[in-house]
Subunit: 314 residues, 4 copies
C-alpha cells in the first residue's frame, strides 16, 4: 500500500507494458520481472493498463489480475496509477474501485472517443468524476492523437476547479508545448492549487517540457533509467548536462515513438534488456520483420557505442 496520488507527484511514472507469452496469454512472471527492472531503474511510479499496456485487448477480469500483480510486485515501494478509461461509466467506476482496493495510488482517465467541444468534454468528465466520488485521485490523460478528443487549457482548469480529486495532468497533445506552459502557469500553487504535470508522447520533447515546468515523465520509453537520471539532473539544475544525456538516446527514442510498430519495438528492447521474457504483442498487433530487426540492431549498437554501456545494464 502506498500513499494516494497527489498534486505534488514528481519524477518518472513509467507506462508499463503488459507482458504476454508468445501465445498471447498474460505472462505474470514477467510482470514481476518488469517491476523489478523498473525499480532498479529508479522510477518514481508506474502507470499500468495505459494504451501501451494494451488494455483494450484485455478482458475485464484480466485487467484486474494484471493491475493486482503489478501493485503486488511493487511491494509498496512506488505508487501505481491504473488506467481505467472505458466506453461505459459503470465499468470505468467498477475498475477504479477495484484498483483502489487493490492498492492503486490513483486512476487515469481519458475522455472517450466521440466527445466534441469543451462543453462536451466537461459534461462527460463531470459524469465520470461524480460517479467515482471524491476519494479516488484522478490523472486526466490528454491524448487527442488517439482519442480524437481535443480540449482547451481553460476546459481542464474548469475540471480542476470543480473536482479536487484531479491531481495530475498527463500531457500528450502534440504539438502541445504551449498548452503545458498555459496549464503550468495557471496551476502554479498560488493563483490555483498545484497540479502535477507528467509528459507522455514517448518523451519526444521531454527536456523542453521540463524547462516549461513539467514535473516529470509518464511514458513507456524502454530506457526509463535514462529518464530517471534526466529528472535528477533537471532537479539539480544541471539542465545542459541533462539535455546532453537525453540527446544520446534521442535517435532510439524517436524510432520507438512510431505509432503501431512502436509498441513491438519497445517490447523487443525491454526483452533485450532482460525485463520481459517475450516481446509478443496481442493480435492484431505489430510484429517486427527482418528489416525492422536489423534496423533496431543498428540503432541499439549505435546507442551502446555512444553511451559506452551495454543496453542490458541499468
Amino acid at each position: 500500500m502506498t500513499t494516494k496520488l497527489s498534486g505534488d507527484a514528481k519524477g518518472v511514472y513509467v507506462i508499463a507494458a503488459t507482458p504476454f507469452h508468445d501465445d498471447g496469454r498474460i505472462d505474470f512472471d514477467s510482470i514481476d520481472r518488469l517491476v523489478d527492472f523498473y525499480l532498479r531503474c529508479g522510477v518514481h511510479g508506474m502507470t499500468v493498463l495505459g494504451v501501451m499496456g494494451e488494455f483494450q485487448k484485455l478482458s475485464e477480469s484480466e485487467t484486474l489480475d494484471v493491475a493486482k500483480r503489478f501493485i503486488a510486485a511493487a511491494r509498496g515501494k512506488i505508487q501505481t496509477v491504473v488506467g481505467v478509461s472505458n466506453p461505459g461509466t459503470t465499468l470505468l467506476v467498477k475498475a477504479a474501485r477495484a484498483s483502489m482496493e487493490a492498492g492503486a495510488a490513483g486512476v487515469m482517465v481519458m475522455p472517450i472517443q466521440g466527445l466534441k467541444t469543451d462543453e462536451g468534454v466537461l459534461s462527460y468528465m463531470r459524469g465520470v468524476l461524480k460517479a467515482l466520488g471524491p476519494s479516488v485521485p484522478v490523472c486526466v490523460q490528454d491524448y487527442p492523437q488517439l482519442s480524437g478528443v481535443y480540449f482547451s487549457p481553460g476546459c481542464f482548469l474548469q475540471m480542476v476547479d470543480e473536482f479536487p480529486q484531479i491531481v495530475m495532468f498527463k500531457h500528450e497533445e502534440a504539438p502541445g508545448l504551449r498548452k503545458l506552459s498555459a496549464i503550468r502557469r495557471a496551476c502554479d500553487g498560488s493563483a490555483r492549487r498545484y497540479i502535477s504535470i507528467l509528459c507522455g508522447n514517448g518523451g519526444i520533447h521531454l527536456p523542453q517540457e521540463y524547462r516549461r515546468g513539467a514535473d516529470g515523465a509518464m511514458t513507456g520509453f524502454a530506457f526509463p533509467d535514462m529518464m530517471v537520471r534526466l529528472h535528477a539532473l533537471f532537479a539539480a539544475g544541471k539542465t545542459e548536462e541533462a539535455e546532453d544525456l537525453y540527446d544520446l538516446y534521442l535517435p532510439v527514442l524517436r524510432h520507438e515513438l512510431q505509432p503501431g510498430i512502436g509498441l513491438a519495438l519497445r517490447k523487443e528492447i525491454l526483452r533485450r534488456r532482460g525485463a520481459i521474457a517475450s516481446s509478443a504483442v496481442r493480435a492484431p498487433g505489430p510484429k517486427l520483420d527482418a528489416d525492422d530487426v536489423a534496423e533496431l540492431d543498428r540503432l541499439l549498437a549505435r546507442l551502446e557505442r555512444k553511451t559506452g554501456k551495454p543496453i542490458g545494464s541499468v
Copy 2:
C-alpha cells in the same frame, strides 16, 4: 438451436437494443419481452450486441449473459447473429465460440478502428477469420461512419473468395448505394456464390436498397413490423405499395437515425410500444430532454394519424 447463418438469408434481422433498468443494470426480463415483441413483428432474425446494443459498455461476462438470454428467448424460432467485434482477436474469438455454443447462428465482425487501406483490412480480416476457423458463419459489418475504416467492393470480394464462412454483408457505408450494386452483381450466385446483403443505417434508403438487390434489413428501427411488411411487399413484387408504406414511416425513421440521441429516441419508442420497461441508456449515454420528448410526441402522433394505428399495436 437454429440452423447456421447462410448466404441465402433474407428478411429483417433486427438489431436488438439491450434493455437496462433505470439504474443501468441489465433488464433480463425486458430481453424476454423484447424478443416476444420482435417475434410478434414477424422478424426473420435478430442481431444482438451491435452498436445499438451498447456492446461497448458491457463487460465480457455481461455480453455473454445478454447473448444467451436473447438466444434462449427466441426458442429456436429465429436465427440470432451475435456481434463480437473487439480490439483484441483473442477476446473476439472467445466471444464467438461462446456465442456459437449458446446457439447463435453466426457472428458479426466489423474491422477495427485504425485499419488503413484495403491491404490493411484484408490482413486484419485474414487474421480474424483464421482464428475463428471455418465453422463459424460470419457477417462482415461495413460501417465506416463509426469505425473510420473504409474498404472497397474489391476488398470484400477478396474476403469472400478466401473464406467460405463469410456468408453475409451488413451494408451501411453511407453513401453506399453503388457499393451495394457492385457487390450484388459480383455475388450473384453465378459468377460468384450468393452472399446475403442486409442493410443498416436505420433503413434510410431501404426501398432503394431493395431495388438494387438487397436481401433485407439489419437495423434497429423501432418499427420492425413495418420493415417486415415492406419485405413481404417487395418479395411479392408490389414495389410501389412497399414504398408507399415506407414513406409513412420515413419522418420518424429519419428522426430516429440521428447519431447519439437516436439511441435514446429508439429505446423510448420501444418502451412506448411496450417492448421494454425502461428507455435507459447506459452512461455516458444520451437522455431526452423536454424538447426532445415533445418533438417525439408530435412525430408519433402524426404517424398514428397517417397510419391509422396506435403505435403500440403490432
Copy 3:
C-alpha cells in the same frame, strides 16, 4: 443593391448551385436562368459559392465572376450572401470586400479545417472578423461534418457578444437540434440580440427546426418552392399542414442529401426542372450512372404522383 444582411432575416436563402457546361466551363447564362428559377420559387435570398456551389474548384477570378453574375441577375430583388471561406485570411478578406462592393448583402464564413477546441475557434474567428472590419455582415457556418471543426453554443455566443457584425447562424451540425434550441434561447432578442438562424443539411429536419425556433432554411434542396411554401405555412401557424407538405418531398430530399453523389442528383433535378442547362459537376465530381438515373426517375415519378404536379412546374 439590396439592404445589408441583418439578424431579422427570415425565410429561404437557397444555396445556389454553380452551373457548368459539360466541358467544365462556367455557364453564365444558366446562372441567369437559375436565379430566375429561384425568384419564381419565391426564395427570400440566395447564398452563392457555398460547398454545393463547388467554390473550392473555382479560381479566385472565377469566384468573383460567379458572385457578380448572381448578384446582377437578382436585380436587387433578393439578398445575396457570398461564401468566402478560405485557408488564408488575406484571400478571405479580399473576396469579402469584392463581394460587398459587387452588391452582396453579407458573407458566409466557416472556421477552417484543423481548428481544435472552442478556444481555437474563437481565436481564429477573432482574427478573421477583425480583418473583415465592422461593416461586413457575417453569417457563421457551422458544418463540422465537412470541416471537422466543432464548437459549442457557448463559443458561438461569445462571438456574437464580441462582434456585432455577426447576424446569422447557418446551423448544420448533425445531430444538432439541441444546439439550435440552445442558441435560439440565448439569442432571443431579450437576454441577447436576436440572431437569424437558418438551417442547412439539405433540410432533413426542417419542420423540427422551425418548431425549435429556426428562422428559415439555407440549403440547396432542388425544390426551393416547397421550402418557401413550408415557410409561409409555419409563419401562418399551420404547422401540421406544413409538415404534411414537407413529408411529400421527404423521400426525394433524403435521397438528395447523400454526400458526394447528392450534388450530381441535385443538379440533375435542377436541370430537369429547367433551371440549368447541364447537370455537369466539375471534376473530380460525381457522375450519375444508369442505376442512379433509374432510381432518380422512380423517386421523381413518385413525387409527381403524390403532389399531382409535374416536377417542372414551380
Copy 4:
C-alpha cells in the same frame, strides 16, 4: 530550363518556404535570396508550393508568380518541382501546364481529401493523370497525416504501371518505413522500372530511410546543407559517419517537425541563417511567443556548440 524530372532523381529536393513580408505580401526578393541559400547548401532540386510553401493561402495568380520567380532564380542550375494539388482537376491541370511552361521539371500531386479506399484513390489519380497528359512528369505525394487519404503500396504500383509519367514517390506516411521498403523492392529497376523515392516528414527517419533504399530527401528542414552532406556520406558508403552527422541535428529537427508551430520555427531559423528577410507566416498562421523564442534560442545554441559552427554558415 532544366531537364525533366525522371525516375533516377537523387539527392535533396528541398521543400521551399514561401517568403512573405511582415504584412503578408509575397517577398519576391527573399525568393531570390532563399534560392541562393539553397544553391549554396548544394541542394539537388527544389520543390515549391508544397504544404510548407503555404500554397493554400495563395491565389491562383500568386502561385504562378511564386513558381516562376523560384524557377528563374534557380537559373537552370537545379530542377524545380511545383506542387499543384487542388480540389479541382481543371485548376490543377492549368497550374501544371503553366508551371511546365515556366520551366518546371515536373509537378507534385497529392490525392485530395475525402478519397476512400485504394479504388477511390486510383480512380482519382487516373482522372488527373489523363487530364495532365503523358508529357508532365509527376511526383505522387503520400501524406495521409494531412490529407486523410491512405493508399497501399499495391495501389501506388498500379499507378506506376499505368502511367509512365509517374517518376517519383514523395514518401511521408508515418509510420511508413515498411511502405518504403515494399515500394523500393517492387520498383527496383528490374522487376519494375526504378522510381525515385524522396522522403518528407521533416527528415525524422532519414538515415533509416536511406538504409531502406530511399534516393534522398524532399523536406523543408532549415538545414538543407546537413542533408546534402548526409546524402554524400550515404552515397560514399560512410553510413555511420552519416548518422553521426544527422544525430547532431536531430534535436532541432524533431523540434521543427511539430505540426503548425513548426512552420513558424522553420521560417525563423531560415531568417536567422540569412535566407529570408522575415519569418512571417500568412494568417491564420502560427507566431512564436516569448517561450517559443527562448526555447529555440537554447536549441540553436546547443547546435552551434555541438557542431562548432555558427548557424549562419553554410
